[in-house]
């Protein structure tokens, strides 16, 4: 009996390759390609008054220097607004190369193509761009104030303004027994994949066709965008994502200027061209996320039940909006988490600043929304003197409420309707895991030792697996080996393993015999991309559907060969046999031979399919009408709506009473992503997500000065947590299968990151005894908060004394 592969912690088959240096990343390709380098704006806001490239041409090995004026009509257009939205009334995108104005430090102005990167950078350093600087808008507060404009034709820096309301919030607020107002701040951070972006393009002049590789989360998207701007038919361009050293969202935005310029230059020069982003470029010319100012007004009753929730969000979208307003929409909708407030309104403004653009970063607006909701829950509990989990429980959506429709529109333009989840059960598991009810005793003991400890909690719901669709292609070769392709890309998630597990189970073959290719438009030209924790849900179900098609065809051919009824057949380990009569069998490889009638025998096995072998009925066409040769099949998965995963985290922190250092003593996760294809991979995703969340909560911040210069644009100054800073993570799982897809799975990619800032703020607040309203937080800032509290307390004591 074949053991089912789904549900088992199969070791990731890509890891030996990746951890032994045998990965094939973008910069491993195209050794002899010409190299591109870019002159980028040193100013946050300026008019370009002149570009002098004369000196650069003196450098031996320069092949081309391009400015905006060199671009043809298609290439000179602003980059596309990828996700238009009616509320995005003032979308702005950059040009591939800046023409008259730059709007953030790092915006590309001149492209140099040369023999190698050394020459290209030497030449770029000799190019003189003259600027007249303009006043800059840095930070969301300045954007909101709107004393200065980023784009002259965008009033008040507002790219988008959107209000969603369910119920009469004002009326509910007015009659709420208790009301609180909470101002909150979240700072900028960024994905920071180990591998930056990169593009390599080879133009075949004779064939008038392009092959290109990009370190992207969507090769189909890049292909379509490049085809449009270069005026190439899709049939003449293929795009591949090689091994990608992390994406975390930043590589879903496309086309980046470089993604258009590199293939454009390759065609113009008739030579392969490559560009691999360096770390400094990644800091100033990729994308950031997270910065928001929020104002929450909440009305609630004596039990802590929320009667009205009124949230205002000012979202920093940076200099341009190529990815639309997906991030603030997610904040506004996913803020609700596992709760059902009586009425809800969220109003957001998406605002321009003279800083790097904002596109989704793992969590994509959810960490901010969860921060708002969970800080509110803690504030209610503090106000009422109730246990924080009790207030949460009071507001939970219950299992019997599922499916639960919030009455809002989600980021995919579909209703925000939860499909599954058992929040009380998840909370019970979390409380048991962290020892919630025993914490008071632990704190007492710690206090006796002169230590300050705190316990924090955060809950979230994550819409995963958004559409529109993904596809799978499964091909059984005559060797019996199974080749699977899906169009979305991999950035280290373990797709080669997880999708092979699914196909092995669906088809009835050994896991070892299944080989997966992702992100190659030659193998699967229809795809969307890897984002929104969607790969397992979307491509997982798509390859399962494709495998079913192949299975049916295999059974049909085998039934003919074995003179049996297809319904009486089963497939195990690549062998088709009659149930109960295992000796009557035929291998899948033989079926693959028979599936493709041949004139020529290219090997021994193929002889069985040739015209004189007597295999086929001479009275019928070798390929029946409506049938196709080959043992292969395609399948697509296109759900009506997203599926909603959820989780709850708790942490115990210790804050040093003297230095204000913050140490995470325990970090506990209860996670529900429905059926787990591979628990090992899910755990890895959760661990990586928490690590990234810890970075966002305690270390990472994009520090812009008032002139729009990024002060910490290197790993010397931008702190990311290493293994030495990431806590041991304790996990437990709850599996509530999604009813929306055949495999019952929900996404897991972003989960770990989402609530970490909320959880750690909750724990630090619990340790310190005063509200934590801004994240990230450093020891220096915590110390300063303590000092302010102490000084305010001293002041108020003095005032009292004066009375």
């Amino acid at each position: 009996m074949t053991t089912r592969s789904i549900g088992h912690s199969v070791q990731r088959r890509e890891d030996p390759r990746l951890v032994t240096g045998n990965g094939r990343y973008l910069d491993d390709l195209g050794r002899d390609a010409l190299a591109a380098a870019f002159v980028r704006s040193p100013h946050a806001h300026a008019t370009i008054t002149g570009i002098d490239i004369t000196d650069a041409w003196e450098v031996d090995g320069v092949e081309a220097i391009y400015t905006f004026e060199d671009l043809d009509e298609l290439m000179a257009r602003p980059l596309p607004v990828l996700i238009p939205h009616p509320a995005l009334t003032h979308p702005r995108t950059c040009l591939a190369l800046a023409d008259t104005e730059v709007n953030h430090v790092g915006e590309p102005v001149v492209m140099v193509v040369a023999r190698d990167r050394y020459v290209a950078e030497d030449a770029a350093a000799r190019i003189v761009v003259s600027y007249e600087t303009k006043p800059v808008v840095v930070g969301v507060a300045a954007a909101r104030e709107a004393a200065l404009a980023v784009h002259d034709d965008v009033p008040d820096n507002v790219a988008a303004h959107l209000i969603q309301e369910v119920g009469d919030v004002d009326a509910a607020l007015a009659c709420s027994p208790h009301r609180l107002t909470i101002p909150l701040t979240i700072e900028r951070s960024a994905c920071m994949p180990m591998e930056g972006k990169g593009v390599y393009a080879v133009w075949d002049r004779d064939d008038a066709s392009m092959r290109m590789w990009s370190s992207t989360q969507t090769s189909t998207g890049v292909r379509a965008a490049v085809a449009a701007r270069l005026g190439i038919p899709l049939a003449r361009i293929q795009c591949m994502a090689p091994d990608v050293g992390g994406g975390f969202g930043v590589k879903i935005n496309h086309p980046w200027p470089e993604e258009l310029l590199v293939p454009w230059a390759a065609r113009a020069l008739g030579r392969p061209v490559k560009w691999a982003e360096d770390r400094r470029e990644h800091f100033v010319s990729s994308a950031h996320e997270r910065q928001q100012l929020q104002e929450v007004e909440v009305g609630f009753d004596d039990d802590g039940r929320i009667l009205a929730l009124d949230v205002k969000v000012w979202h920093d979208n940076g200099a341009y909006t190529p990815y639309g307003i997906i991030v603030p929409i997610i904040t506004a909708t996913q803020l609700l988490g596992p709760y059902k407030p009586g009425t809800y309104r969220c109003e957001f403004w998406s605002l321009y600043t003279n800083t790097v653009i904002v596109t989704p970063y793992r969590g994509a607006g959810r960490p901010q929304g969860v921060f708002a909701m969970e800080r509110t829950m803690d504030a209610i509990a503090a106000f009422l003197g109730k246990d924080r989990t009790e207030v949460r429980s009071t507001n939970f959506i219950l299992p019997q409420d599922m499916p639960y429709d919030h009455g809002l529109m989600f980021q995919d333009g579909r209703p925000l309707k939860y499909d599954s989840g058992d929040f009380p059960a998840s909370l019970a598991k979390l409380k048991a895991l962290v020892g919630w009810d025993d914490f008071a005793a632990y704190r007492e003991q710690a206090e006796a030792e002169g230590r300050k400890v705190g316990l924090g909690i955060g809950c979230y719901v994550e819409g995963t697996g958004v559409g529109p669709y993904e596809g799978g292609h499964v091909h059984v070769e005559t060797s019996g080996q199974v080749f699977v392709a899906t169009g979305l890309t991999s950035q280290g998630q373990g797709h080669e393993t997880a999708f092979a597990q699914i196909v092995a189970d669906e088809l009835g073959v050994r896991f070892e015999d299944v080989h997966v290719t992702t992100g190659d438009t030659r193998r699967m030209p229809y795809a969307v991309g890897t984002f929104a924790s969607r790969a397992a849900v979307m491509s997982g179900n798509a390859v399962a559907a494709a495998a079913k098609v192949v299975r049916e065809k295999a059974l049909r051919i085998a039934a003919d060969a074995l003179e049996a009824n297809p319904d009486d057949l089963e497939i195990e380990d690549g062998v088709i046999s009659v149930k109960g009569a295992p000796d009557t069998q035929i291998s899948l490889s033989t079926v693959a031979v028979l599936s493709n009638p041949l004139r020529y025998a290219f090997d021994d096995a193929a002889k069985a399919a040739t015209q004189f072998a007597g295999t086929f009925d001479p009275d019928k066409p070798p390929v029946a009408e409506g049938d196709e040769p080959g043992l292969e099949g395609k399948g697509f998965y296109s759900p009506t709506q997203a599926t909603f995963a959820n989780g709850m985290h708790a942490a115990i922190v210790e804050t040093d009473p003297v230095t204000a250092e913050i140490r995470i003593l325990r970090y506990c996760v209860v996670h529900d992503c429905g059926v787990m294809i591979n628990p090992l991979i899910v755990e890895g995703q959760v661990h990586g997500g928490v690590a990234q969340g810890v970075g966002g909560a305690l270390y990472e911040r994009m520090a812009y000065d008032e002139s729009g210069q990024l002060l910490n644009a290197s790993f010397m100054d931008f702190l990311v947590p290493y293994a030495s800073e990431v806590p041991f993570i304790e996990t437990d799982h709850l599996e509530t299968p999604s009813p929306l897809n055949p495999l019952g799975i929900k996404g897991a990619g972003e989960a770990g990151t989402i609530p970490v800032s909320a959880v750690l703020a909750s724990a630090i607040e619990d340790a310190e005894g005063f509200p934590i309203l801004s994240m990230p937080i450093s020891p220096s800032e915590l110390w300063e908060l303590r000092r302010q509290r102490a000084s305010a307390a001293a002041h108020s004591a003095t005032t009292e004394g004066d009375r």
Binding site: R117, Y118, E121, D122, A125, D278, R279, R280, V658, T659, L698, Y699, R701, A703, L711, N712, S714, M716, D717, L719, V720, P721, Y722, S724, E725, S778, P779, S780, W783, E784
Partner: protein, 282 residues
């Protein structure tokens, strides 16, 4: 992040290195372990015409005893210093501070001389060298001279090593039997010190007879906490907090992303107290 082009020379003797340096004049830059210079070159913050690599110069690497002094060649790596039995026995403070520098990869490439001459105020090795009253041996066209550590660090990234000169060795008076501790405050393990305190004490029967304390990143150069040193003399090793409360006196710490100056002053007193207590204990 690629350096602009430069000429690379790898002399094999101090004389040849000095000659190469003299020839290059203002356009020359000395490469030791490269842990600071290479990032600077790659970010094109500096574009020297000639890089003079000391990696193959004879006699600049190694640790030896010279009477009452330990002599450490300028090109000795952090890893060698941190693990040297001689250093651990006679200049434990330097061994302990060096073990806290960055991460293992950097400690295997970076050198004591390189770090000292780079004179980054957030670097960990200026403070212990200063506290240990080391002497810097500087070779130049006119021969060799020696500069006391207290006169060596002149400003932010500036030292007494003049144009055309090389630091060849660091001479440290033996502090045999002194307790030592380097208290480094960072947010992530591999980071530069936000504040660091290098303390070494001589204690007899629980009483501190002499203490030497160097501060990292509390000003534009490494500093000695002289008033604390004076206050500690004769104090019980178990009660040092009061004596350490003046650690920040006379300092001028920076305000940056990791903390403002007030916080650093606060840390300096706390960390000094911790460092002295730990040093006295072992």
């Amino acid at each position: 992040m690629i350096p602009s082009s430069f000429e690379y020379v790898a002399p094999t003797s101090v004389e040849d290195a000095l000659a190469a340096l003299a020839e290059a004049g203002d356009e020359g830059k000395v490469l030791a372990g490269g842990q600071s210079l290479l990032p600077v070159l790659r970010m094109r913050l500096n574009a020297p015409e000639k890089v003079i690599d000391l990696g193959r110069v004879e006699g600049l690497r190694g640790i030896r005893e010279d009477g009452d002094t330990i002599v450490i060649g300028a090109m000795t790596t952090h890893d060698e210093v941190a693990n040297s039995e001689l250093v651990k026995e006679h200049a434990a403070l330097l061994a302990k501070a060096t073990a806290e520098v960055a991460d293992p990869q950097i400690r295997h490439r970076g050198t004591l001389g390189g770090a000292i001459v780079h004179a980054d105020p957030a670097g960990d090795l200026g403070a212990p060298v200063l506290a240990l009253d080391a002497e810097m041996v500087i070779a130049g066209p006119g021969g060799e001279r020696t500069v006391a550590a207290k006169d060596f660090f002149t400003d932010l990234f500036e030292t007494a090593v003049g144009d055309g000169e090389l630091l060849t060795a660091i001479r440290i008076p033996k502090h045999t039997g002194w307790g030592a501790h380097y208290e480094k405050f960072v947010r992530v393990a591999h980071q530069w010190s936000i504040v660091g305190v290098a303390a070494t004490v001589k204690a007899d029967g629980g009483t501190i007879s002499e203490a030497k304390i160097g501060l990292t990143n509390m000003g534009s150069t490494p500093l000695r906490a002289a008033s604390v040193e004076a206050a500690l003399a004769g104090k019980s090793a178990s009660d040092v907090a009061d004596a350490c409360s003046s650690a920040a006196d006379g300092t001028n710490p920076p305000s940056d992303l990791n903390g403002d100056a007030d916080y650093r002053r606060h840390l300096a007193t706390v960390l000094t107290s911790r460092a002295v207590a730990a040093a006295a204990a072992g």
